[in-house]
């Protein structure tokens, strides 16, 4: 057997490496705007770097059991529903994208409760994932918009990297994107969540921070910058999960509506 070639450990010249990487020019630029800005963030810190927000919304006439035939499922009891949405560091996919905020809405004491978790340090990610797990049990029915292809796999990756069991695995998951597409593809200009929200729930968002801005907003705060846009991300996420519950109730009504439609048409004949 040959001996392994001995490779001398070398210390690379940092300046040379910077030049090669082409980051020299960038370094000269000031990192942060020199003016005063706010670092205030909403919610309570429930673990170092993990913040928690909770709000309740009255919704007196919500159905207690939801008809899920629109999603090719049977029914679900209202208290089992968990509407969720994540805000992430990007769309690149793979192991390098993380969720920094998870919002979830459920029915609690007769109203809609929205709970939001977000992290202000990377190290708090595990605590966030652990807390989110506690909100889920075997009866939970997940509700999302495009969550089957985006949020759920992303969280699965994060749980795997954190060496934790994935609480979403095996649960019933109602992804509203697909039923919306089936029903409105020919009618609306697109089937994005905000379109559905506007057409079906008559909600128009004001001063909404586009989802694509979320990564930058969080990074700015993480790097010591302003919290202004991060606050707007939280508001955006809150509206997302509230709308999810509204859209679900809407879709729940389709079966009855279609049956009615059908019998009306039947009578005309």
């Amino acid at each position: 057997m040959n001996r392994l070639p001995q490779r001398a450990s070398t210390t690379i010249d940092l300046a040379a490496l910077r030049r090669m990487a082409g980051v020299r020019e960038r370094l000269g630029q000031p990192r942060l705007p020199p003016r005063n800005f706010s670092r205030d963030v909403p919610g309570d810190e429930i673990f170092p770097g993990l913040r928690y927000l909770e709000q309740c919304f009255a919704w007196p006439d919500a159905p207690s059991e939801l008809d899920l035939t629109f999603a090719r499922l049977t029914t679900a009891r209202r208290e089992h529903l968990l509407h969720f949405d994540t805000e992430t560091t990007g769309l690149a996919g793979g192991t390098g994208t993380r969720a920094f905020m998870i919002g979830a809405a459920d029915w609690h004491d007769g109203g809609l409760r929205v709970r939001q978790l977000y992290i202000t340090t990377m190290a708090a990610e595990a605590a966030m994932l652990r807390t989110f797990s506690e909100w889920i049990d075997a009866d939970t029915v997940l509700v999302s918009y495009n969550g089957k292809s985006y949020d759920a796999p992303l969280l699965a990756t994060r749980y795997r990297l954190a060496r934790m069991a994935n609480p979403l695995a095996g649960l019933t998951h109602v992804d509203l994107l697909h039923p919306m597409r089936r029903r409105y593809r020919q009618i609306w200009e697109n089937c994005k969540m905000q379109t559905a929200e506007r057409k079906l729930l008559r909600i128009v968002r004001e001063d909404d921070l586009p989802g694509s801005e979320a990564p930058r907003a969080w990074l700015t705060y993480l790097r010591g910058g302003s919290s202004g846009d991060l606050v707007r991300v939280a508001a955006h996420n809150l509206q997302d999960v509230r709308s999810l519950s509204g859209l679900l109730v809407e879709a729940h009504g389709w079966a009855a509506l279609d049956a009615q439609d059908h019998s009306l048409h039947g009578n005309e004949k």
């Binding site: 210390t11 490496l17 910077r18 560091t89 990007g90 690149a92 793979g94 390098g96």
Partner: protein
């Protein structure tokens, strides 16, 4: 007329030989009949097989499957590999072509799947080899009803199949590029696979050299990092063709020790090798007949003697021309299945599979191929191999010859020399081929830019903790640079990926640009894709007017849609083929740094390399006369890269050399010697670091012509004489053959004085007379008696550049 007479003569030769032969008798007959052409004949003696029974500890299901496939015993090296793998060692199998390397890894891998539900990852350099491998595993699986699930996983794998492969694949057969871009960055989806990963098999490791090899070594570092995360430490089983340093190369790739198995137990027949120099047809000019005509003659004789024959040609064009000539003899009856087939990159995969199948089934008598068949594509065994020209390396020559030889049968291998100086040198000095050690494979995985790329990818896959090494070095400085570029975020001890990008997509392991061209047949209103041509070859083969041949059927390119990557062509009947005229020139864009080098200077900076196809020649079949030219208007093939270069002022050259031609010849020799020294100095693969001689102001470029002299090409592509130039500033360039440079040339600049001195030491210490491939490049026989030899001129240039003798 002469051509006709020659054809008659060779026909007579054919009839004399038109009886059944084997490699031994045919080699003797050829040597007797053409003694003036056979420069050297020798025999590589075969050996008896060394067989051992199937190991006792082989799972019984696998033993039964092997027996059902007719394998009732093993070669001794297969048993050695089995034992080494079973004892938990990393294994390198470096035995000749066709010695049954596959079984060396199939046995331990399949056993571990059957016994422990373990998983294995196979990496092959090409998709075709991966497909072969899966087909073979499936056959074994079927024979024993083993239930082993093997899949290819490459760019062609449909999205919906990927999930099933990740979850259920026992053996996943892929390539380094997929591991780098699709598997590692998504490792969480492969969690079950990694948790059970027991073996990593890498075949054809001799192909992972230079920058490509350095990339692979870093991809393997990332793989080991991911494996550690899942708590496994897979064993490596590696296979290599015969190269000068297989063990060292394997250990450099996986950064761990290997047990090397080199003694093949497979029986082999004697191999009769002829080095064949085409006859002199014009003694006054020293002109020889073409290699093509001789290759054609030898292949024809061998096929008529009922020997299955493989011809290797150096270019795709030559494959088609030789195929046509052989088809004209053997396939004139188009109602019969073809006896002659061509095989090369650029054919559609289905066409290639079909040729492979026909070869294996023995339905084809002659096959003409590019280096595509050098690797282990299974085409069954052959009786004769003819090389049309020296492939450029000793290792590749033996690998190609290795394609011939059925079990105990004597086989024939003929190397036909072209007029290229290196080929002619080989004919005069056959020891260069027979006695020298095959080339070494070199990699330099710790080259900073490559390291930076892979640390970037690795940080995306798993965060780094302060003090983590990547390879032998602390990753710290790299992480800091990446954090400064805002792709990483440091928090306490951890460096986490933070950017919204997918870094593996920006790092290509191979230098070739992507974007294949498709060739569309429009004959009689058809719209059929008949071929694919990779980007690098498109400009040379798909210009408008080009005759593009598929299995030697000519199509004429009518329209080339460069942006859309499509070439439209129609069937044609012409008596000529076309050959592109191209040249390369360099222009300095920015000088980063410079220093004095003897009487001249050495510099380092950014350069612009332009490869231009200026036109094409129409060449008539058989007579090979030039019957016309056509213009080509294509975008230049451009490369921005970094380079190191040396030049001497005109006044110094005027004082020292008798003529500018002498100075130019000296520069071309110096480029050759400096390139050799540089490749060793930075452990580069010659193809990754290119050399060029041109004018310092980017005007003209120079290369060695067929007569062994420096030849100058003016900016318009025409030839020019050195004395006619207003300014004469010859410059030697060594440049990174990668877009943006890959970091080879900066260290070369820093070591410029040392390089020049090394180059001179090689030239002066060489035992040759006028110059040879070991020092200034091959020289023609006529130059050996020149007053001022290329070797002397080169030494003078190097001394002027400050070489310390």
């Amino acid at each position: 007329m002469a051509a006709y007479l020659k054809a008659r003569l060779t026909d007579e030769a054919d009839s004399a030989l038109a009886i059944s032969h084997d490699g031994s008798t045919l080699a003797r007959r050829l040597s007797d009949k053409y003694s003036d052409r056979v420069a050297t004949a020798f025999t590589v003696f075969g050996r008896e097989g060394r067989f051992v029974p199937l190991p006792d500890d082989l799972p019984s299901g696998l033993s039964k499957a092997l027996m059902a496939r007719g394998i009732e015993r093993l070669y001794s090296h297969q048993q050695e590999a089995w034992e080494a793998a079973r004892s938990g060692r990393n294994v390198l199998v470096s035995t000749p072509t066709a010695s049954g390397k596959t079984l060396c890894y199939t046995l331990p891998v399949v056993s571990s799947v059957l016994e422990a539900g373990a998983k294995a990852l196979y990496l092959f350099p090409t998709k075709a080899l991966a497909q072969d491998q899966v087909a073979e595993l499936l056959e074994l699986n079927r024979a024993g009803d083993l239930g082993v699930k093997a899949f290819t996983f490459d760019g062609d794998t449909p999205g919906d199949a990927r999930q099933a492969i990740r979850l259920h694949g026992d053996v996943v057969v892929s390539n380094p590029d997929m591991l780098h871009q699709a598997i590692l960055p998504h490792h969480t989806k492969w969690a079950q696979f990694f948790e059970n990963l027991r073996y990593v098999v890498i075949d054809e490791i001799h192909t992972y050299r230079g920058v490509f090899g350095s990339h692979l070594a870093n991809v393997l570092r990332r793989l080991r990092r991911i494996c550690a995360f899942y708590g496994v430490r897979p064993q490596f089983i590696l296979c290599s063709a015969t190269i000068g340093n297989a063990t060292e190369h394997a250990q450099a790739l996986i950064e761990d020790e290997v047990v090397t198995i080199t003694r093949s137990g497979a029986p082999s027949g004697d191999k009769h090798i002829l080095l064949w120099n085409p006859p002199v047809i014009n003694p006054d000019l020293g002109l020889r007949a073409s290699a093509r005509s001789q290759t054609n003659l030898i292949a024809r004789v061998a096929i008529k003697a009922k020997m299955k024959t493989l011809v290797f040609a150096q270019s795709r064009l030559m494959v088609e021309v030789l195929t046509k000539y052989l088809k004209d003899v053997f396939d004139h009856d188009t109602r019969l299945p073809p006896r002659i087939r061509a095989y090369r990159g650029g054919y559609l995969p289905t066409e290639r599979r079909e040729v492979e199948r026909a070869m294996r089934a023995g339905d084809v008598d002659g096959i003409v191929s590019t280096s595509a068949l050098e690797l282990g594509v299974d085409i069954g065994s052959l009786d004769a191999v003819v090389l049309n020209g020296y492939p450029g390396s000793i290792a590749a020559t033996w690998q190609r010859f290795g394609r011939a030889g059925r079990r105990q049968q004597p086989s024939l291998g003929v190397l036909v020399a072209t007029s290229a100086p290196l080929d002619q040198y080989l004919m005069r000095h056959p020891a260069f081929l027979t006695e020298a050690t095959p080339e070494q494979a070199r990699i330099q995985p710790d080259q900073p830019l490559i390291l930076l790329d892979h640390i970037r990818c690795a940080a995306f896959e798993l965060p780094f903790i302060a003090g983590d090494a990547f390879g032998p070095d602390d990753a710290g400085p790299y992480l800091q640079v990446l954090a400064e570029a805002e792709v990483l975020h440091q928090e306490g001890e951890r460096w986490e990926w933070i950017a919204d990008s997918y870094p593996a997509n920006a790092v290509s392991l191979r230098s070739v640009a992507d974007g294949n061209f498709v060739v569309v047949d429009r004959t009689e209103g058809r719209q059929t894709i008949i071929a694919e041509v990779d980007y690098s070859a498109a400009a040379l083969t798909l210009y408008e007017g080009a005759i593009h041949m598929i299995q030697s059927v000519p199509y004429q390119v009518e329209k080339l849609d460069w942006e859309g990557r499509k070439a439209y062509c129609t069937r044609t009947r012409v008596d000529y083929y076309t050959d592109a005229i191209d040249y390369t020139k360099l222009k300095e864009l920015e000088c980063f740094d410079g220093s004095k080098a003897g009487e001249g200077s050495a510099r380092h900076g950014e350069v612009h390399v332009v490869r231009r196809v200026s036109g094409y020649k129409k060449i008539r079949y058989y007579t090979h006369e030039n019957i016309g030219y056509g213009p080509v208007n294509l975008p230049d093939q451009e490369l921005h890269s970094t380079a190191v270069w040396w030049q001497l002022p005109q006044s110094v050259l005027d004082d020292t050399f008798r003529s500018r031609q002498h100075a130019l010849d000296g520069f071309l020799g110096a480029a050759y010697a400096l390139h050799t020294a540089a490749v060793v100095a930075v452990m580069a693969e010659p193809r990754d670091l290119q050399k060029a001689v041109g004018s310092g102001d980017g005007g003209w470029s120079a290369q060695v012509d067929a007569a062994g002299r420096g030849q100058i090409r003016a900016p318009d592509g025409g030839l020019a004489l050195p004395d006619a130039l207003e300014r004469f500033l010859p410059t030697v360039y060594l440049y990174d053959n990668f877009p943006g440079g890959v970091g080879l040339s900066e260290p070369l600049f820093l070591r410029a004085p040392e390089l020049v001195t090394h180059a001179l030491a090689t030239v002066e210490g060489c035992e040759c007379k006028a110059g040879c491939p070991a020092c200034v490049g091959p020289v023609l026989a006529a130059d050996e008696n020149r007053e001022e030899t290329p070797r002397a001129l080169t030494a003078r240039v190097l001394r002027l550049l400050g070489a310390a003798a």
